[in-house]
Symmetry: C2
Subunit: 709 residues, 2 copies
Amino acid sequence: MERKFYLEDIPLDEAWAAFRAALEAAGQWQPLEAETVPLGQANGRVTAAAVWARLSSPHYHAAAMDGYAVRAADTVGAREGAALTFALLEAGERGSGGEGEPKIASAPVPVPPFSPAPLPPSPTAQPVNTGQPLPPWANAVIMIEHVQPVALPDGRSGISIRAAVPPWHHVRPMGEDMVATELVLPANHRLRPVDLGALAGSGHATVSVYRRPRVAIIPTGSELVTVDAGEPPPGRIIEYNSLVLAAQVESWGGLATRRPITPDDFAAIRAAVLAAAPDHDLILLNAGSSAGSEDYTAHVVESLGRLLVHGVAVRPGHPVVLGTVEMTNDELRMTNEEEHAELVVRRRTRRNPLSRVTPIIGIPGYPVSAALTGEIFVEPLLAQWQGQRPHQPATLEGNLTRKLVSPTGDEEFARVVVGRVGDRNTVTPISRGAGVITSLVRADGIVRVPRFSEGHDAGAPVTVHLYRDPRDIARAIVAIGSHDLTLDLMAQFLAARHDGLRLVSANVGSLSGLVALRRGEAHLAGSHLLDLETGEYNLSYIRRYLPGWEIALVSLVGREQGWMVSPGNPLGLTGWADATRPDVSLVNRQRGAGTRVLLDYELGKLGIDPAAVRGYEREEYTHLAVAAAVASGAADAGLGIRAAARALHLDFVPLAREAYELVIPRAHYESERLRPLLDLLADAEFRAAVAAMPGYDITGMGDMRLIVA
Amino acid sequence: MERKFYLEDIPLDEAWAAFRAALEAAGQWQPLEAETVPLGQANGRVTAAAVWARLSSPHYHAAAMDGYAVRAADTVGAREGAALTFALLEAGERGSGGEGEPKIASAPVPVPPFSPAPLPPSPTAQPVNTGQPLPPWANAVIMIEHVQPVALPDGRSGISIRAAVPPWHHVRPMGEDMVATELVLPANHRLRPVDLGALAGSGHATVSVYRRPRVAIIPTGSELVTVDAGEPPPGRIIEYNSLVLAAQVESWGGLATRRPITPDDFAAIRAAVLAAAPDHDLILLNAGSSAGSEDYTAHVVESLGRLLVHGVAVRPGHPVVLGTVEMTNDELRMTNEEEHAELVVRRRTRRNPLSRVTPIIGIPGYPVSAALTGEIFVEPLLAQWQGQRPHQPATLEGNLTRKLVSPTGDEEFARVVVGRVGDRNTVTPISRGAGVITSLVRADGIVRVPRFSEGHDAGAPVTVHLYRDPRDIARAIVAIGSHDLTLDLMAQFLAARHDGLRLVSANVGSLSGLVALRRGEAHLAGSHLLDLETGEYNLSYIRRYLPGWEIALVSLVGREQGWMVSPGNPLGLTGWADATRPDVSLVNRQRGAGTRVLLDYELGKLGIDPAAVRGYEREEYTHLAVAAAVASGAADAGLGIRAAARALHLDFVPLAREAYELVIPRAHYESERLRPLLDLLADAEFRAAVAAMPGYDITGMGDMRLIVA
């Protein structure tokens, strides 16, 4: 640790090139060695070599119908009114390939191809069933439905036919499906169920496939606790990046090993890497990949092999380490740290060509950075090792609903949600930090903003690299506006009742919802905007923001608003005027939120200047976020709904009842797309679920007023 | 078995409706029960209930940067030239939430939310590292890079700052990611790696998911042998439908059990079903689902429960059985067959509401029918049991390259290959039987032709339900024309060298290849057409079929043509004239094939009438198929190339050398798309592989003549 490490800013393609060059030099930029697996375990694996047919399929001329095998030449001349008669071959007279009754042979005799049995006299027929071998003298099959049984003059059994058949009629000739030596499947082919059938049918019981890459995942950090350890104290963090990375690795065809959490200690992390290296193709060290005093990843990599890249110009995910552990397996098993250190010095002066090279990736700690680093660096490597191209997500073109600002130094991977409203795809950046894993959960895709771009303006066309099937995006219902817990319940019911139909909601406040409707970015907006003059909800705002529009204004719920306060209401809040108490610190909602409008309305009635309210400037975007601020002690009170207070075990001081409505342009209201959502409003189970929430009133739910604004 | 069964013709939607109604009545048309699994095993599973956050994330206000925690109000007024100084809090003075050095707390103390430590005097700062809890009195973090260490007048340590910060600057507020009680994931959601992170981060160590459906697959048929039993004798067939069905079931989220092969015997099949029913959610019985004398599936289903559907109007896959086994588990464990029979009679008169209902599907025996039946009936059922929609394949619009004839009584699932040539998608039906599994392996998708339609004309627009990523189709190279083994090698090399790039070739003969070029259906055509007058290859045909076109005529190989005969050449063939020997039966190539043109040319030179050649009318489409006909004894000789004879261990009587060339319209020749293929012609490894094939000559490979036809 004599050396100080600085975080660099290496462009993504250069970082990849350095990593790839090191792997190529070590002979590791190629598929892993092959292993032979039984077909029953081969689905989804990748062929390591082309497969050629060992047997033909069928491996004999087979009857394709139940009926009678004949020589086609013997049937010439048969027609209606001129039937031809065939003698049935008795069992003793037969060549190989048939049985006494037209049934599947239970112990068929092989046909020696170049010593056929003596030819029976013409015209002769022999019963055969579908799949049975044709007798060597026959070359066609007549369907059982097209013959008449007859008795021959000599007393033997026979059949008569009334139509001629061409050669090879109703016969599956040998090799119809596959001819021995023919190509069945190419190399580098990911096996599907039907491929297994073709392999088996051509005589293969096993198949040679690439070995699955083994990946060790080492979580590091003294602050980390496992998810099953119960609720962690402040300062402790539940470790879950290893879960996400392991699931990624398995999804991409690898075998993941999750190692125990290692504390922030150079020797401990180094020991964990040494322990993992002999048995794994790749090591993921998470985190400690930045350049802080407790960030040991770069030091550890440097001490065991080569530090190739430290810091990549991408965001999120900047503090990435790419490197290699370079030691023979014997060396890796050394336990003495000083021996190792000496070894590293020797190595630097004289490269040992026999050393084992194990790539190692230092993965940033923030969960979004970690998951994206998996996609950017781990997936292409696992694909290469399995003879596959890197995953290319499907793309979709759309237009930004708001400005996407990007730092010019980094290539940005901006998470976005995509809505299909009318004939446009609207693309909305989720502007949340790298610590917000739900931003990836919610994301429909990624917009990549190149280095040296400052981003895109609102309305700009962008390409989205999708996480979801574009058809799921196409049918989703988009709600932008005020947040209410009823929307969460709606999302639940829609998904359950309509095959995963999604209600995509963006919580931007009532007023911004109306603006989104005007811009054609949403199908509906939840709104509870109180008119400061009339005391009426929503109508005047709709007239102002959507003039001339035909709007269906649909009642959803009535709900209580009030102070959310600590349990026991220790400051004794009772009314609106408490907002100005010098010993009370509030948390507020963002501008344009109906709850904030309500607060402003009531403060205005009392003649209170917002500047006199402590905490008026602190903004949160949802009721629950306000409740969380109170629950954590960051504020004494916040205006919000009773259900949010209850959810976080807060007390509630009711102050007002308000109407929460859905604002829906008429065309959307009448569209098939919104039918499932509107039907819910009359659904007994849904109504009961809403009514069960504290402070909610479903009187009038579903009532609609059609207005021309 | 007193009852005779007839195969019906029930439309697909009616068959499904009957099956679904029976499952609904039994309470089985719904997701399976839930089970709780650790997150490490949950990737890809489907949530059985909505998941709500148990903890907030972060569960405390956390520093988002390494630096110093302060009260934002204390920083007001700081600017360049007017630094403000903060005293550093000593360890003893601190509230909870920090440690002596700016490092991750190794044993943090919980913050009791409503009893904060006494406020330290202003202005005070406390070192914090990223992720650490903020002290309760602080509400902002100043980055370490933005402070200067200073000594205070009283000798204590301090820092000075030159800029104010707003409240909550560089702080991740509690609940920034998720607030306790908030919705994390809805029900019926297939879990992805990032979802596992959100679940763990919100305090869940396990998740409730639907149980995986258990499916028993019972192969039946006295003619069946297992794939590992070695080369089967004629009449015996390698059983592989169970492999395909099991892999399908696993791909669709189920757990498949492959049962041993059961002979065609009513009692044995019935016993196998009885043995499987108690432990499985679904039984697949394959085959015996038709109405022949050895088809027991319908009888078995009738004897154990209800036969709902026998025969569905689809092709391939007509002989499908849908039904249920209806018995209690105790009854299923009865071993006495007569007891069972009696039970069934009792059942018919008095339905026992407690009986266990196990759906059973009788699956047709032909492999294409079996795989399609899996897609049509098994996949939607497994999806329903896991709370998912049935799979909807991506679709693509294209135009048929030739007529698609369909039987009017059945809905047809026609397998097709799709090529992207210019700006058109060309759709070519693979007109092979239900026994040809390679038709499904090769298929890019399915065109569904409804009942009562007679099919579509050449050129008609059709919708293809894709088996492949449309991008793989878009980049494939399409070769239509004569078959040569060099094309198979090319396909190998292209896939290996260019990330799975596909060479899609249709073997229709040289002449049809030129026609396909003219219609814009291919990028290139392999051709070896001998001009009967000039004795020159290809040129005159190109002038006739592609008049006015600019064509790049690229030499591929020279190759030997000759008689392929049984080992030892038992009939002693030596020259062209042997074609007319009365003791020699030939197999020929199809009209338009270069090999046939060559035969006609040579017969013409000798003045031989084709009618005098035995077997002249028997046509095969590839060299290997001709070789297979000779190897199986179906013919004595066929004209073809030495490599094909060698592949099937035949003898070869050389007769001619010919030029096999690639005919490529100039625009395609110069396109990026064909670059990888043309580059191969100069690739040493590829040339060596071609030269190693017997009878092949690579002199001139890659030479190009540009002609205006």
